[in-house]
Structures are given as structure tokens and as C-alpha cells.
């Protein structure tokens, strides 16, 4: 039998040893909250080791949640005070609300912020731009990824206009080997983000149209906002059998298995597609309505990173965020995750060809962001969610473009008056 005193001294020793370890190492551990669970390996194998090599006194842990649960989980954790130190920021209102509720720290005076343009910071700044609360990490660009082998086989070329686009789809349909377009209606965001917001800017003239919508000078029922819905409605014919019940992963699989020829994409697909597809891929920007029109791309500020205002490790957190704002991070991140384009002013060399293709459109096309993100999605019904719903209905052929446009506008009108957020 172990004597009582032995037991006591033994356990005391263990307690002492446990207590002493952190003291000896003087380490701070930062926990990152994120919805990018796809990026776990990149953080663990590339980004965190690079940071820890430069800052051995800080430990970083990446703890992602599933994308669809992130907002709810994060809000609950922040309310309960159990959230991590570093918070990955959704663009615009979701993060702005967190900042206004004092969950996110003000980062306006962070040295690294100097590396970003106002446009890059816009998604994580207050409406007047005076305060910024997240370091911009990356934007994603919309366009179309296609099966280059299939195009070569059928003698097709990248379409530049709407007319050419449908001619290409017709040609693929006629041949019958491939489903022309990989898109489904069940995961509604696919119809809105990869459909409406992808091709739409060319019709509503990008930023000009978006600003007009916020100012109340344009409405979803205006011709330039209905037209892309009409184009979207035509996509249904080319989407393959049963596309009404096709999920987003279904679409991805259809394309990477070589069964569909064109994928209406966001650049975030690049990494996964390169890993899974065993055919050559190419990409083209959204087709313009008519020959000679200016081309527009949705270059959407998508991901930022901020500091939990309640974090006990604020100093280490700021060190980390400064590193995220650095050119070193931009280079590592953009190359580890081709398709997420760093927003930093520092030039970044990309090794991925497809990613380079996407980013090259910035030279000839006007950039804009998704029109439903800034300001207009603050109320109930939520414009973005309404947009998903009606875009999916139009794609599935259960609602006419005109009805969809009217319903979206009606939802917005029910709570939004232009200028209501201006002081």
C-alpha cells in the first residue's frame, strides 16, 4: 500500500511540474477561429510553422468549424466568452456587427494596415471608413472553369460574349458526351453566387450599378438587374437531368469526373479541382452581353482576420496579425491556397497557372463585389438570402425572372430606405 504522505508528495510534485511548464517556456497560445476547415493542413503545415519560426514565443492553433455553422458557433462562443483569440472575419455586416458589439478589437492603428488599399479594407471597416477591425486576407474572383480537353475535342473556343457562350453550350449539348454546365439548384447559394453575381456585373456595370442600388437610384426590377436573371433561367436547359436536386458537391464532382464541360466557378475551386481532375483546365471571365462591352468581374473581398476584443493575449495577437499583413504571409497564403488572392499592396508571384489566369482579368476587367453584401443585407428579410432563394427558383424554372426580381425588390423595400445608415 502506498502511504498517504507518499501519495501527497507525489501528487504535489505532479501539480508543481504541470504548473511550472508554461512558466519555464514563457509561451502564449493563440487560437484561431475559422470557417475554412478545408485549410487545416495549409495552416498546420505551411503558415503556422512559418510564423512560429519567426516568433518562437507564440504558439498558434487553428481550430476551424464547418462553414455553415461558423456564424452561429462563433456568435455563441463570443457571447459565452469561450471564443479563440484570433477571429476569421466574414466580409461586411457579420463582422461589423461583431465590432459594434465590442467582440472585435479596433485594428485601425495596426502597423500592417498600411499594406492595404481602402477598397481592400472596405469589407472590414465602419461605413465611414474611419475604423478597421480585421486585416484583409484574400478575395475570390468569379468566372468559369472549363474542361480544356473537352473543348479541344469538340473544337470549341473560350466564349467572350453571351451569344458565343450559348453557342458553346449548344455545341456541347449537341455532341452529347458532356453535360454543358455543372450547376445545381438545391444549394441555393450556388445559383446566386456562381450564377447571378458571376455574370451580373457585366449588365449592371459593376460598382456603378452596385452603388446605385445602395443609393436607391437602381432597383432589382430595372432592366439591367433582370437581364442576368433571364440569362440564368436559360442555364437550366444546359444543367443536365435532375439539376433541381443537384447539390454543390454534386456539381463539383460532375465537373472533376469529366462529365460536365463548364463549371461556373469561384477561384476558390482551383486547389480542389487541380487535385481531383485529371484533365487540363482553363478559365474564362464572365461573358459580356455584346461584343465590345466592358468586362466586369466579381472580385469579392471574402476573408479577413481580426482580434477577439476579450482575448487575454492581445499583444501576441497583434504580433500575429502584423505578420498576416506582411508580404511574406501574402506570398505563402496565395500560393498555398491558389484562388484566394491576397489583398496586400505588395506584389505577389503566383505559381499556379489557373490562378494566374483568374488574377490576370483584373488588368482588363473592372472589379466589383457582390451587390448584396454591403449595407443592403442588414435587415429582415435578408437581401443575400432572398437573392439565393429567387436565383435558385429562376434556375430551377419555378419562377420567372420578372417575378423573382419583383420579390427581391419587395423584400428590400420592406425595410430599407436609401440613406438610412448615413449620419
Amino acid at each position: 500500500m502506498i502511504s498517504k504522505s507518499k501519495l501527497l508528495s507525489g501528487s504535489a510534485g505532479v501539480v508543481l511540474a504541470l504548473a511550472a511548464t508554461p512558466l519555464l517556456a514563457q509561451e502564449t497560445t493563440l487560437v484561431i477561429e475559422s470557417w475554412r476547415n478545408d485549410d487545416l493542413t495549409i495552416w498546420q503545415q505551411t503558415l503556422i510553422p512559418a510564423f512560429e519560426a519567426a516568433h518562437p514565443e507564440i504558439n498558434v492553433e487553428f481550430q476551424p468549424t464547418a462553414p455553415t455553422e461558423y456564424n452561429a458557433a462563433l456568435n455563441a462562443k463570443l457571447e459565452a466568452g469561450s471564443a479563440g483569440d484570433i477571429i476569421t472575419c466574414r466580409p461586411f455586416d457579420a463582422s461589423l456587427a461583431l465590432f459594434q458589439e465590442d467582440h472585435l478589437a479596433d485594428l485601425t492603428d495596426l502597423e500592417g494596415m498600411a499594406n492595404f488599399s481602402d477598397v481592400a479594407k472596405s469589407a472590414w471597416s465602419t461605413d465611414d471608413g474611419s475604423q478597421t477591425f480585421c486585416v484583409p486576407m484574400a478575395s475570390v474572383i468569379h468566372g468559369f472553369i472549363y474542361n480544356a480537353d473537352a473543348f479541344a475535342e469538340l473544337g470549341l473556343e473560350e466564349p467572350t460574349t453571351e451569344e458565343e457562350f450559348f453557342a458553346v453550350l449548344d455545341a456541347i449539348q449537341e455532341d452529347g458526351t458532356y453535360i454543358p454546365l455543372a450547376i445545381g439548384a438545391v444549394d441555393q447559394w450556388e445559383a446566386a453566387s456562381m450564377g447571378y453575381h458571376n455574370i451580373g456585373p457585366a449588365y449592371w456595370a459593376g460598382e456603378e450599378g452596385r452603388q446605385a442600388l445602395i443609393a436607391g437610384e437602381a432597383k432589382f426590377t430595372d432592366e439591367e438587374w433582370v437581364e442576368p436573371l433571364e440569362v440564368l433561367a436559360r442555364w437550366g436547359e444546359y444543367a443536365g437531368e435532375g439539376y433541381q436536386a443537384q447539390t454543390y458537391p454534386d456539381s463539383q464532382n460532375l465537373f472533376t469526373l469529366g462529365r460536365a464541360a463548364i463549371f461556373p466557378a469561384g477561384s476558390w475551386e482551383i486547389a480542389l479541382f487541380e487535385e481531383q481532375a485529371d484533365f487540363a483546365m482553363g478559365a474564362f471571365p464572365p461573358p459580356v452581353p455584346a461584343e465590345g462591352d466592358t468586362c466586369y468581374i466579381s472580385d469579392h473581398t471574402d476573408i479577413g482576420i481580426g482580434l477577439n476584443a476579450a482575448s487575454p493575449n492581445a499583444e501576441a495577437g497583434r504580433t500575429f496579425l502584423n505578420w498576416v499583413a506582411s508580404a511574406e504571409f501574402a506570398e505563402l497564403y496565395s500560393n498555398a491556397l491558389p484562388g484566394f488572392f491576397a489583398l496586400s499592396n505588395e506584389p505577389v508571384t503566383l505559381e499556379n497557372e489557373l490562378a494566374n489566369e483568374f488574377v490576370s482579368w483584373r488588368e482588363n476587367c473592372e472589379s466589383t463585389i457582390r451587390p448584396t453584401y454591403q449595407i443592403l443585407s442588414r435587415g429582415t428579410p435578408n437581401l443575400e438570402n432572398d437573392n439565393w432563394l429567387h436565383a435558385a427558383n429562376v434556375l430551377a424554372g419555378t419562377e420567372t425572372p420578372a417575378d423573382a426580381a419583383a420579390a427581391i425588390q419587395e423584400g428590400l423595400d420592406s425595410w430599407y430606405t436609401p440613406g438610412m445608415y448615413e449620419e
Binding site: T68, N71, A72, N75, A76, R90, F92, D93, A94, A97, G184, A185, V186, D187, Q188, W189, G240, E241, G242, Y243, Q244, A245, Q246, T247, D250, N253, L254, T372, Y373, S377, R378, T380, P381, N382, L383, E384, N385, W388, L389, A392, N393, A396, T398, E399, G411, S414
Partner: protein
């Protein structure tokens, strides 16, 4: 018999002691949150500050055209979901139990287990598996229908407004039919042989025997199953969320109170969560279930004849 009868019975402390953990845990994780939810539904933002607003949230829920449309749509769908369960799950459960209680049936244990297994699976697995089975792209449903020459009957059911909710209700029936089956099976087995023999002597046999003798005797069990199904269906959420997402597509045709509550309370995508409106919906769910259970308890249960043997 006992010679000494205590005049003052000893205080039975052990009852309180043994009940305490359960009471404490149940109070902490069920009763307190329930009342705080009810309480929260009476609050709302007034000029940006949280304040007591009485029944204003309920007024919004019922009379603001948009909230009301979502709420009634979800409630209607919920009733449809429950209706499909009642008309499909109970008869199939009774039928399966009747078949299983036939002493001539071989491999009874195997069937019983096979039919019961889905009830222990997670919603996520069931939802995902059925989504795959019914997928127009990779599902086996189109091929199986093709094999018997009925390919034309196949449609992307989960993507059609008219079919999606019924399809999901049937998937849920598939998952849970084992529970009524087991309960009814047990009830059927507990009917004494004398009753059956007496019926046979009177010339009541076969289907007639089932409807005249056995069915009335298992009615209390069917009543309990119905109320359990009612409570389960009106709390349902997982299956819809897993297969159709929080927007309960297509076009909110599968939106039930649970998904509406989730979207409202926690927010969704760019929609910010609204704790007070969410609590209001949760309160309505609670009241609907409470009313349903009360109707059952006082309207049906108390009038049901109990047969004692």
C-alpha cells in the same frame, strides 16, 4: 406480521437525496433554459437598447406579413410532416408488428433487428444516405426503377417544391418505423391467449379477429406512439437541415418550425441572429406541443378504456 408499528414514520431523507441529482440537472439544463426562452420572447430592441416589449414579438410574428407568411408556412409544413407520419408510419408499424407476431414466421429476430436499426442511426447519416440514394446523378433509385421498367416515375424529388417535404417525411418514417413496430409488437404479445381463444370459439378469426379484438386492445399503445410522434415531429430540425440546408429549399417548401427557429435565432449567412424573435418562435413551438399533449392527455387518454386481465 410486524409487531411494532412506528407511530411517527421516519422521514425518508433518502428519497430527496436520490432524487436531488436528477432534479438539479433537469432544472439546470431543461427548466431554467425553458423559462429564460419564454422570458426572452418578451424582450426586444427599442432604440437600440434591449427592453421589455410585452407581446410585441408575437404581434410581429402573427401580423407582419413577412413573418406571418414564414410562420404559417412552417406550421402548415409541420402539420403535413406529422400527417405523413401518422398515415404511413402507424399502419406500417401495426402491419409489421402483426407479421412479426405470427409464430410461423422464420427469421423473426433478424427482421426485427433490421427494421429497428435505422432508428439508432444519426440524422446526418440517414439524411446523407438518402440524399445519395435519391440523387438523379449518382443515386441508385433511378437505376432500380429502370430495372423494373419504371424509370419514367423518377424525378429529382428533393429538388421539387411539391415533392420535397413528403419525400423527407417518408425518409423519416423509414428511419423511425421500428419504434411503433416494437411497441405494438410488445402490446400484441401481451394480449392473453385466452382472449384470442375465446374469439376463435366465437368464430372471430383472421382479419376480423385483428380488427375486432387485437386492434382495440393495442389502441392505447397507438395513442402513445402518436403523441410521441407529434412531439418528435414538432421538434424536428436535423433531417431538413442536413438535406436541404437552413433555407429549407426549394422555395421554403420544406421549412418547418425547427428550421425557421434556427434561421431566426442563430442567423444564417449574412442574416444576423435575432435572439428575441427566435425565442418567440421557440415559445410558439413549446405552446403548440403543450396544447397537442394536453388534448391527448385530457381528451383522449382519460377516455381510453383500459383492459385489465
Amino acid at each position: 406480521m410486524a409487531a411494532t408499528i412506528e407511530h411517527k414514520p421516519p422521514r425518508r431523507w433518502h428519497i430527496a437525496v436520490f432524487l436531488a441529482p436528477a432534479v438539479l440537472v433537469y432544472t439546470a439544463i431543461m427548466i431554467v433554459p425553458l423559462f429564460s426562452t419564454l422570458f426572452q420572447s418578451l424582450f426586444g430592441p427599442v432604440d437600440g437598447e434591449r427592453a421589455f416589449v410585452g407581446l410585441r414579438n408575437f404581434q410581429t410574428l402573427f401580423f407582419d406579413p413577412r413573418w406571418a407568411a414564414s410562420f404559417w408556412n412552417a406550421l402548415y409544413n409541420n402539420f403535413w410532416f406529422f400527417f405523413i407520419h401518422m398515415v404511413v408510419q402507424n399502419p406500417i408499424g401495426v402491419l409489421l408488428a402483426a407479421i412479426l407476431s405470427n409464430p410461423n414466421l422464420r427469421l423473426r429476430g433478424f427482421y426485427r433487428t433490421a427494421i429497428f436499426i435505422p432508428t439508432i442511426l444519426s440524422f446526418v447519416i440517414v439524411g446523407f444516405a438518402w440524399q445519395l440514394i435519391l440523387s438523379p446523378l449518382w443515386g441508385i433509385a433511378p437505376n432500380m426503377l429502370d430495372a423494373i421498367g419504371l424509370r419514367f416515375l423518377f424525378a429529382p424529388w428533393l429538388g421539387q417544391e411539391g415533392a420535397a417535404l413528403t419525400t423527407l417525411a417518408l425518409v423519416s418514417v423509414w428511419q423511425f418505423v421500428g419504434i411503433p413496430m416494437m411497441l405494438i409488437y410488445a402490446a400484441l404479445l401481451s394480449i392473453p391467449d385466452e382472449v384470442i381463444e375465446a374469439a376463435e370459439i366465437d368464430g372471430v378469426t383472421g382479419a376480423k379477429q385483428f380488427f375486432k379484438i387485437q386492434l382495440p386492445l393495442i389502441l392505447p399503445t397507438i395513442g402513445i406512439i402518436s403523441i410521441l410522434t407529434f412531439v418528435g415531429n414538432f421538434n424536428a430540425f436535423d433531417l431538413i437541415y442536413v438535406t436541404q440546408g437552413a433555407q429549407a429549399g426549394p422555395n421554403f417548401s420544406t421549412d418547418i418550425l425547427g428550421t425557421l427557429l434556427y434561421r431566426t435565432f442563430f442567423g444564417f449567412q449574412l442574416q444576423q441572429g435575432d435572439v428575441n424573435m427566435g425565442s418567440t418562435i421557440a415559445t410558439m413551438m413549446f405552446l403548440i406541443i403543450l396544447v397537442g399533449v394536453c388534448i391527448y392527455l385530457f381528451g383522449i387518454q382519460t377516455r381510453m378504456r383500459r383492459y385489465q386481465f
